[in-house]
Subunit: 224 residues, 2 copies
Amino acid sequence: MSAPLTRREAKERTRKRLIDAARELILSGDETRVAASTVAKRASVAGATFYEHFRSRDDLLKALADDLFDELREKLATSRWEALAAPSSEEKLRQEFQTPLAVLAANPDLFRLALRVRHYPSSPLGDSSRRFSGNTRSDVVEELVDRGYPHDGPEERRRLEMIADVHIAATEVLALGYLAGRYPDLNEVVDMLVLVTRGTRLAREWHGRSALELDAEVVQARNS
Amino acid sequence: MSAPLTRREAKERTRKRLIDAARELILSGDETRVAASTVAKRASVAGATFYEHFRSRDDLLKALADDLFDELREKLATSRWEALAAPSSEEKLRQEFQTPLAVLAANPDLFRLALRVRHYPSSPLGDSSRRFSGNTRSDVVEELVDRGYPHDGPEERRRLEMIADVHIAATEVLALGYLAGRYPDLNEVVDMLVLVTRGTRLAREWHGRSALELDAEVVQARNS
DNA sequence: TGTACATCAGTGAACGCGCGTTCACTGATGTAC
DNA sequence: TGTACATCAGTGAACGCGCGTTCACTGATGTAC
């Protein structure tokens, strides 16, 4: 039997249907195709109903974008917890790349959406997306500080941000290559990311010395 | 006095006006706004004239995209020539990052366009953009081979592609950070990129050994 | 060199389409007594 | 518990807009004799 829906329940149900419909549409490709009318059609309601729930198309898109990116950020944030549980410090480092990679690989639609809208200043999704990127960078910077990277003064902070940017970007391209089938083995991908940190972590010993000086030292040490 | 334009000249002039208009529009933001009618208006011709020169809106967009990305690739390709001219091998490496960075920084609109359309499967620009990305990766892989990175067998080739992807992605994010004002000093950016190669070039000594084993060796060497 | 015709670049007006949004309305749910 | 009215979720039809594209046409340029 059909439970006698209260007005509130009915309205919430319809709203959810609209949001779900928009979500499917937005994740399955081109968000320029996420039209108010299309969303309504997919939710099996009249076009006018859309405006009983959202002030405008952009209103829905913004709400949805916040939801989606918060979700992704939360999933990515679990990586640190999981990494902390790893036995050795090497395993910890690998975990710190493994989990984000797995998250991105498991949510290709969401991942691709983030990549797509990131550079669209005009898109209503652009804002949430850039906020998301900024947050992710902050998260990673924090991680680096925990790992003992120097972070005093603006120059060292800037360096940490650069390292975070590089780690994130590297993770993203390689995840993309994995999704494209170019790098079928995630272990190889993690190996590569660990290798990148072998370079960037040299910044830990950077105190006024230039990259070239530092590099020369490392090379000497290896050859000795 | 107005030179008596021949028909051919007149038509070419109009075509150029249309392409230039489209180019300005596409570089100055949202390419979804590059409508046939907008382009015609900006070129000061009637809307119907557009179709005397291009079969459709997509036709123009594709032609334009090819032009733009070829242009960018050509500019980036000069980096290798310039790098070869550098005196020392360290300077050479720095140049290999410095020039691409300078190119991206000098063409922010074009750079941002490439980023924007890269992940749009439906956009008529998407194809050219992805072809461009693939070419750039090949170019960098070639560069790595020249620098003595091992490239025998599918595994090593894959590794080279990964390294190329990482170098490109790192260059791009940092260039973006420079454009955003977050990393105002390009020298610092180059330092960071050189640091990244300090990690990835460890792949040169990788022959069947794992990243962790190799890393342990390096750490030992440094501490000795 | 002049005349008659062919070609062709460019035009204004119109078409159909999908879209975002509005509006007067309907019928079911909630509430006051 | 029943009745009269208020509220409100959802609707169908319509509006205006910008867009991609087409079409019959114009007037200048090219060509054959």
